[in-house]
């Protein structure tokens, strides 16, 4: 049985925080609103107080706990390597346990559980058309990211596809028998919003002769539900995906979404030993492509005269796990790309699972900073490796009245490969 850790399981980790305050330099939420409750050190003090019974689940407590992007910037710079993002997620589950899901982040639980709200959702508040939103399963993270009654009409969203990616393809696309077989874990972003990036991935894998399995039974990785504190949802999604992983035969599981990668490699292994054997099989698509010698193949293509300036945004969920070189290596090898580095490429875009739904103003502040760095880089395109980041970055750029376009690196890869 998949089981997420409880807040009390983090007792020792909470004690590892020595209150040095170093996280104040790295927390995007603190950077936007300089309140100690926004930063890792404050949240750990609050979680500690909750465990000791020194604080109630009062409004300010809930607010502080909701004000975290779970981006892990604090962890990556923490001298004692305290996983505040896990502690905050566990605290949110504790809140949901004690007060019910809907207490945390206005309505996340309601959205999931009640048909009435589902219908409201489908009416869409202008965000999505009813017809298309119906195609998204109830438990998909997209529903958590866009609980329509709450989503700001100010936000620019990509259109939903009328034919989700996984419905377009057979479950097995055979390749060269000497080459590895991969299971493509598509994630909701690619399945419903950015199917072209999925097509691009297939094109790249076909190019190197890899056999691809796209199981129809796969479901949302559960990361948005982690962000929302919805433990049961995370656990049942993980079990469904586990069954998919167990039923198929393959060498690797590839992802083209940083959040999914993190869900599969960081969240699942903590839920039970049965997940461990799959953790090592999960590879970000660019890590896999580099291992397969793909960059060298790209480098052999003649360089284009009319190169486009492209910069890269590090999704938090890859940066935290040290995946920073591979996406850049692919970008730099592309014949049409003139790669430029932007300042602070590794800071969070501001989406943070359900964060941007409930704190859109702060999220916009964080995004505006990012949009500034993008502009300063002089790039025309921003490439990244996460549908969530693509959506948020494009929204931030639109709000800044700039013209840069945000793409998945795979979209650029597909441009130069033969049909």
């Amino acid at each position: 049985m998949a089981k997420l850790k409880k807040l009390e399981d983090y007792r020792d980790e909470i004690d590892q925080c020595v209150k040095c305050g170093g996280c104040r330099a790295h927390c995007p939420a603190f950077g936007a609103e300089k309140h100690e409750g926004r930063v890792a050190r404050g949240k750990i003090a609050l979680a500690d107080s909750l465990l000791k019974g020194d604080v109630e689940l009062e409004e300010k407590f809930l607010l502080d706990m909701s004000q975290c992007l779970l981006c892990g910037s604090c962890y990556s710079q923490c001298p004692n390597k305290v996983h505040t993002e896990d502690i905050v997620a566990a605290t949110r589950r504790e809140i949901a346990n004690r007060k019910g899901l809907s207490t945390f982040g206005k309505g996340v639980g309601t959205v999931l559980k009640h048909q009435g709200v589902m219908n409201l959702l489908a009416k869409g508040g202008g965000a999505f058309s009813k017809l298309l939103f119906k195609k998204i399963p109830e438990q998909s993270g997209l529903r958590l990211r866009f609980p329509a009654p709450f989503i700001s009409s100010d936000r620019t969203l990509p259109p939903l596809t009328s034919k989700p990616f996984r419905e377009r393809h057979p479950e097995v696309i055979p390749g060269d028998p000497d080459k590895p077989t991969v299971l493509f874990f598509t994630g909701c972003g690619i399945n419903y919003m950015y199917p072209d990036s999925g097509e691009a991935l297939l094109k790249a894998l076909k190019f190197i002769g890899v056999t691809v399995i796209i199981p129809k039974a796969q479901v949302c990785c559960g990361l948005p539900a982690v962000s929302a504190g919805a433990a049961n949802t995370v656990e049942s999604l993980a079990e469904e995906n586990l069954a998919v992983f167990q039923q198929n035969k393959y060498d690797y599981i590839v992802t083209a979404c940083a959040s999914c990668h993190s869900g599969l490699t960081q969240i699942y292994p903590g839920m039970g030993e049965e997940f461990n054997e799959f953790r090592d099989k999960v590879k970000d698509i660019f890590v896999f492509l580099i291992e397969q010698g793909f960059a060298d193949k790209l480098a052999q293509l003649p360089k284009r005269q009319d190169q486009v300036k492209v910069t890269y945004h590090d999704p938090c969920h890859l940066r935290n796990h040290g995946i920073t070189a591979e996406p850049r290596a692919i970008l730099k090898a592309l014949p049409q790309v003139d790669f430029v580095e932007m300042e602070d490429a590794g800071t969070c875009c501001g989406l943070g699972g359900t964060y941007s739904v409930y704190h859109y103003d702060t999220s916009k502040k964080i995004g505006a900073k990012k949009a500034g760095f993008i502009k300063e880089s002089g790039a025309e395109l921003v490439a990244t490796d996460c549908p969530g980041c693509i959506m948020q970055l494009q929204d931030s750029i639109n709000h800044a009245d700039e013209k840069q376009r945000v793409v998945h690196i795979l979209d650029l890869v597909a441009e130069v490969l033969p049909e």
């Binding site: 004690d15 590892q16 020595v18 209150k19 040095c20 305050g21 170093g22 104040r24 330099a25 300089k34 309140h35 100690e36 409750g37 404050g42 003090a45 609050l46 107080s49 020194d54 604080v55 109630e56 009062e58 409004e59 300010k60 407590f61 607010l63 502080d64 001298p79 004692n80 390597k81």
Partner: protein, 461 residues
């Protein structure tokens, strides 16, 4: 908890949003890096010196203690509200008001983050040298109040050497100016220097006038591994006797190196029993010469290996050994008593030997590193608070470490200040009449004893 009418008045002064009374908010302003927790009654984030003045008048009338706070990164409890009352968070005052490139002077507010200030002045080729380890988050107001140091101080001096003027709010609510933007000024007492390092007990700093330097063109980093702490310590004196003042002269003792060997895969040869991390700065063409001179000076002193960085990446790799200490220490024991004694630099080996014998006597690991150039040793007594007796042993060891430093003509704190952590030991270092002299000043300026009470002095002032 005091009267609701006080809260209402505070809200009238600073605005409702800037006055926090919810438990969750109070918890977030109850600690600093000492990990000691004391809940305040209210947290206020004022937006101007005028507001602070009104708050201090209100607090004086009602005898409410006030605890000024920057980023809360201190190691001695300078900002923790030990007696409840008001936490005065100064982070909203975060503007760099002026950078005067003709006179090399900047005027800033106390909530400016040290590293942000440095970055800003460096953009116009200027330089603010003090570099406490917490500089990425610490505020300049906190740095002034604690007179922060850092590795670069061996060459450039500490915070007070750069502060030439202040605007302050007195404990009774007057707004006054001390010093000013001139390089010289001897009219009246030097109140600026009095406030620097006064740990928030005499005034609330609302504006800081800072002296700047031209930014050195380049720097060069080298790492020298020695076969003994004596060799390393002699090297420090020999380098300075050789008329070279490095920007940085950091040392790591044998026990620190043992920790690093255990916890990391950094290359630390077994023969190395001490390390000096040396940085020189200045005009590019002189640096190679200086490095060569340092190398030849230290060579006869038991050098195991010398590594010189040619690129910023290589320099960062050399610093990695110094930066890895904090995380490595935790593998020895989970809890640390972190002291920062300072002795005359020639006495560093004697001090290390004293500490080693204290460590052996109590059978607890003590790991030392720090700023060899100014004799400032970070003494880390590593214990496990869950082990019965460890805490008491550590306290005894701390006492003996202070005693040892004082016997060698040193001080029990080079950088962190007294706060609440060292207050009980104050009379070990200062004579009764010196403490009286200080208390007289405190009493005269803060007749109600409301500004950061309980800090520095172990008993009532």
């Amino acid at each position: 908890m005091f009267d609701q009418s006080i809260i209402t008045k505070l809200q009238q002064i600073s605005g409702k949003d800037q006055v926090l009374t919810d438990k969750a908010d109070l918890i977030c302003y109850s600690y600093d890096a000492t990990q000691k927790q004391y809940l305040p009654d209210v947290v206020v984030h004022p937006g101007s010196a005028e507001e602070i003045s009104q708050i201090m008048k209100l607090a004086s009338e009602n005898k409410i203690p006030v605890f000024p706070r920057g980023a809360g990164t201190g190691f001695t409890g300078g900002s923790v509200p030990t007696a409840g009352g008001i936490v005065l968070g100064l982070t909203r005052l975060d503007k760099i008001l002026d950078i005067d490139e003709e006179n090399l002077v900047a005027t800033i507010e106390p909530g400016v983050v040290t590293a942000e200030f440095q970055k800003t002045v460096e953009k116009v080729g200027l330089f603010y040298p003090p570099d406490p380890a917490s500089l990425k988050v610490s505020t300049m107001g906190g740095n002034v109040a604690e007179c922060a140091g850092g590795p670069r101080c061996v060459k450039y001096g500490v915070t007070k050497d750069y502060i030439i003027g202040l605007e302050i709010v007195t404990p009774t609510g007057d707004v006054i100016k001390t010093g000013g933007p001139t390089m010289k000024g001897v009219v009246g007492y030097d109140l600026t220097k009095l406030i620097c390092g006064s740990e928030g007990t005499l005034a609330i700093i609302t504006e800081i006038v800072v002296k700047l330097l031209p930014k050195p063109e380049a720097k060069k980093t080298m790492l020298v591994l020695f076969d003994s702490i004596d060799g390393a310590a002699q090297a420090v004196s020999a380098i300075i006797r050789g008329k070279i003042i490095p920007t940085t002269l950091e040392f790591l003792d044998a026990r620190t190196l043992d920790c690093i060997r255990q916890a990391t895969d950094l290359d630390v040869p077994a023969a190395a029993r001490a390390v000096l991390l040396i940085e020189v700065d200045g005009d590019r063409e002189f640096l190679d010469k200086q490095v060569a001179k340092v190398s030849s000076i230290v060579q006869p002193l038991g050098v195991v290996e010398t590594r010189v960085a040619d690129t910023p990446e290589q320099s960062e790799a050399l610093w990695q050994m110094r930066r890895s200490i904090s995380a490595s220490l935790r593998q020895v024991n989970p809890d640390k008593f972190n002291e920062d004694i300072c002795v005359p630099r020639s006495k560093v080996p004697d001090m290390i030997r004293k500490i080693e014998s204290i460590s052996d006597h109590y059978q607890i690991p003590i790991v030392n590193y720090g700023h060899a150039g100014d004799g400032n040793i970070h003494v880390n007594i590593m214990v496990d608070e869950k082990t019965p007796g460890d805490h008491e042993k550590a306290e005894k060891a701390v006492f003996e470490v202070f005693q040892g430093a004082l016997e060698l003509g040193g001080t029990m704190s080079g950088e962190h200040g007294v706060g609440i952590m060292k207050a009980p030991f104050l009379d070990m270092e200062l004579k009764a009449n010196t403490i009286d002299y200080m208390k007289t000043i405190k009493r005269a300026l803060d007749p109600n004893n409301i500004l950061n009470p309980g800090k520095i002095f172990p008993s009532d002032v």
